[in-house]
Point group: C2
Chain length 469, copies 2
């Protein structure tokens, strides 16, 4: 009688990480935030190493035994990157130490399993700031942020995760722990393997820790909100935000569909503003800009300039929320994805990005695609970066709806590419978009993508099925 796959893994990988840290997968280990689409994977075991050396040893064992590895962080990914297809789930949740916090030198070293919010909190307590702000920060891990090169609203002004990574500690195939960069702020000695690993979705190596760059917080902040009667006027509002001198660091958009779901829970209350306008069903989009500056008065003046610009662009209502309302608005903004999913129980939510001048075309086209497939539609996201979460609402228990949504997504990808954009601005390809890169890139670029995968993971065991061109 041969041992079951799990019994073998428990014995062999238990010797590496401790038997209590190898377990059969729970349902939560087989899903990520794509559960709204009905996606669930399978795996023989979940392995939870306690440090980077154990990660290296576990990868080496898997490489020696042709065992596929799916690396798992907080499981908040939106493209199925953490959903396993057999093999083991390598969970980095126990690598949860902030190794070094050096606010006086604007840097820290943090392990992959630290949650985004735990890092943000420690950095705030130290009087500094780590700007990347992807959604789901209470659950998502820094390792996942790096693996996907996560964005978020403030990526518009401060750049995506990569811009904040000084260096990484990572395990490369067949199980070697390497250090690329570190506390030094500039380094062009070797090829930029740090940038190659960041955003590679765990398919080229396993990031176990990173040195991150920090900055002082702004002296003043200001939020401006504007309601637009048409997508054309919203596009003019986006353009105006870039040219009026306001220099926003975040420029978010919610379309009418997203406001229909999220508007009811809007928490803001300001004596001076009629927030109920936001639940008016005749609008096409709302824009929310966040400004940062040295001083309150100067930043407020820039906010006023933006209000004027937006009114010229056709906004039917504008407001400058109080600090408390701005904070509540940011929290509410984070809840939009869940509110939209709740309408029909599920959604297929993409993250295409286009040049900033083509946001209206993208939104019009995406809504038209939904109509053609008989699906409800909502969109929101990072208008300043042209990165919109175009979503097709669905009942996840309906295979027919899921198939319709998948077809609609294919058309959406074609539209984004036709507009000069990308099939993924921040979520990555994961499993859901695997295979679509070939429609976006030149064949020789795809060949280079594949050559790099083959060079760094010759057995194809690191997150197989993910980031496939």
């Amino acid at each position: 009688m041969t041992a079951s796959p799990f019994t073998t893994l428990e014995r062999e990988l238990g010797a590496v990480v401790g038997a209590q840290h190898v377990s059969p997968p729970a349902i939560s280990d087989l899903e990520d935030a794509t559960r709204w689409t009905g996606l669930r994977g399978n795996a023989d075991a979940v392995v939870r190493p306690g440090n980077a050396e154990q990660v290296a040893a576990a990868v080496r064992w898997c490489y020696d035994h042709d065992m596929p590895i799916t690396v798992r962080g907080g499981g908040t990914g939106l493209s199925g990157g953490a959903v396993p297809e057999g093999g083991i789930v390598l969970s980095l949740e126990r690598l949860n130490r902030i190794r070094t916090m050096e606010p006086e030198w604007w840097r820290c070293e943090v392990e992959a399993g630290v949650t985004t919010e735990a890092l943000q909190r420690r950095v705030r307590e130290a009087g500094l700031r780590y700007p990347p702000d992807p959604g789901a920060g209470e659950v998502s891990h820094i390792g996942g942020n790096l693996a996907t090169n996560a964005g978020g609203p403030h990526a518009f002004g401060h750049g995506v995760t990569r811009a904040w990574v000084l260096g990484v500690e990572a395990v490369l195939a067949p199980g070697e722990l390497v250090h690329l960069g570190g506390p030094t702020r500039k380094d062009v000695a070797g090829y930029d393997l740090t940038s190659l690993l960041v955003g590679s979705e765990g398919t080229l190596g396993v990031i176990t820790a990173a040195w991150l760059r920090l900055i002082p917080p702004p002296g003043a902040e200001q939020t401006v909100i504007g309601l637009f009667p048409s997508l054309a006027s919203a596009q003019a509002g986006i353009g105006g935000a870039l040219t009026c001198g306001a220099v926003p660091v975040a420029l978010e958009l919610l379309d009418g569909g997203a406001l229909q779901d999220a508007g009811a829970t809007l928490p803001v209350q300001d004596a001076a503003a009629e927030w109920s306008h936001l639940t008016d069903p005749t609008h096409a989009a709302v824009l929310i800009a966040h400004l940062e500056g040295d001083l309150a008065e100067a930043t407020a003046a820039r906010g006023d300039a933006l209000v004027d610009t937006w009114q010229e662009a056709g906004a039917t209502w504008t407001a400058v929320p109080s600090a408390a309302s701005s904070s509540a608005l940011a929290t509410w903004r984070d809840s939009v994805s869940g509110a939209v999913a709740a309408r029909r129980g599920g959604k297929l939510s993409e993250d295409v990005a286009v040049p900033t001048d083509r946001v209206a075309e993208l939104l019009e086209g995406s809504a038209a695609i939904a109509r053609r497939h008989g699906l409800e539609h909502a969109a929101w996201g990072h208008a300043g970066d042209g990165n919109l979460h175009c979503s097709f609402l669905l009942d996840p228990t309906s295979p027919e709806r899921r198939a319709q949504a998948a077809d609609a997504a294919d058309e959406l990808f074609s539209l984004a590419i036709a507009l000069g954009g990308t099939i993924s601005g921040e979520h990555g390809l994961g499993r859901l978009k695997s295979g679509h890169l070939s429609a976006q890139w030149d064949p020789a670029a795809v060949a280079a993508h594949q050559a790099i995968k083959a060079a760094l993971d010759p057995k194809g065991l690191l997150n197989p099925g993910r980031k496939v061109a």
Copy 2:
């Protein structure tokens, strides 16, 4: 009688780019800014394509004929990256168009042969700003900036060249023109081949054009200068600049050796400040901080805070130059390298970088290395990024001095690595530092570096001898 190599190249590559654009190399084609070290290469011909398609065709011909290619931009590199070792020089000087300037969307598309200053000027005229400011901007090309991932003083606050690249057009082996990214601001669909090409020193592909990101200029600027009696007090001044709330965007240092050479040409004149302090031979270092902000008064207040901090750190003299003097100071700062080289006719000038808290240790160690080798020493650079141009002065006609300087540089590299830093913060490995990466990186990281080179340039014809681990 067989044709000479040049005759063959003129006929074959002349058919690709036009016979008048293939010529025997002039001495200026065989040198770059490392001529101070006496380095000169050799090549059979210089080929000057007129567009990206001709670059692709020329690379394809070379790949078919096993002909090594040295890509040449402005020739201002400081590590010998443009110095050929046989084969052809592929000059991109005719790719000198700014293809698109879209200030309203904060972006432009520019060909590789445009000079840094020509781009900066066009961007300024459009009311915006391209922040990277490597030296020699009147001569250096954007293509070279990208190939080396060039830094400069404002990289401290605004990031290196890579931070401003949205996408590249490039020729990959064996001669394929590809487009990676474009006007879209966020893209995580494929591996980050843009970052891999940027900084690869032309060894993985030939960048022919790039989409660059732009930003509005700051509303106010302020320069602060401080003279420090010891490297320890200068290190305290660097730390103070990070913690006092001034938030400089550039933080430059010149040591006593650099001021000895450059001090005499200091152009600044302010009634309120005694600039002659800067030629006092008893000081150890001067720090120059550049602040940017919304408003003049607030920025000036941050400058005042920095003055206080520097005085507490032990500065013996501080000044807040007028706007005109600040501008003159920046121009003078650019002339330091030439002034230092002039002392003995030449120099071997490195660009090591260390964590920002270890600048004083680096400068002390570098000066000690110079003394041990009987060489004069000067250092200056980007203190906020820990990136210092430690230079060994020499008569370039003396083989003995050149050998001493090379030995000193080897020790300097070991010192930078021992301090947790890198052998190159902004110039790259070129030919001068080729082979030294193995001392800095883990063996498995070096293997990954080499595997990527082999995957993308299997014949090893792109800038051979450069960026070798």
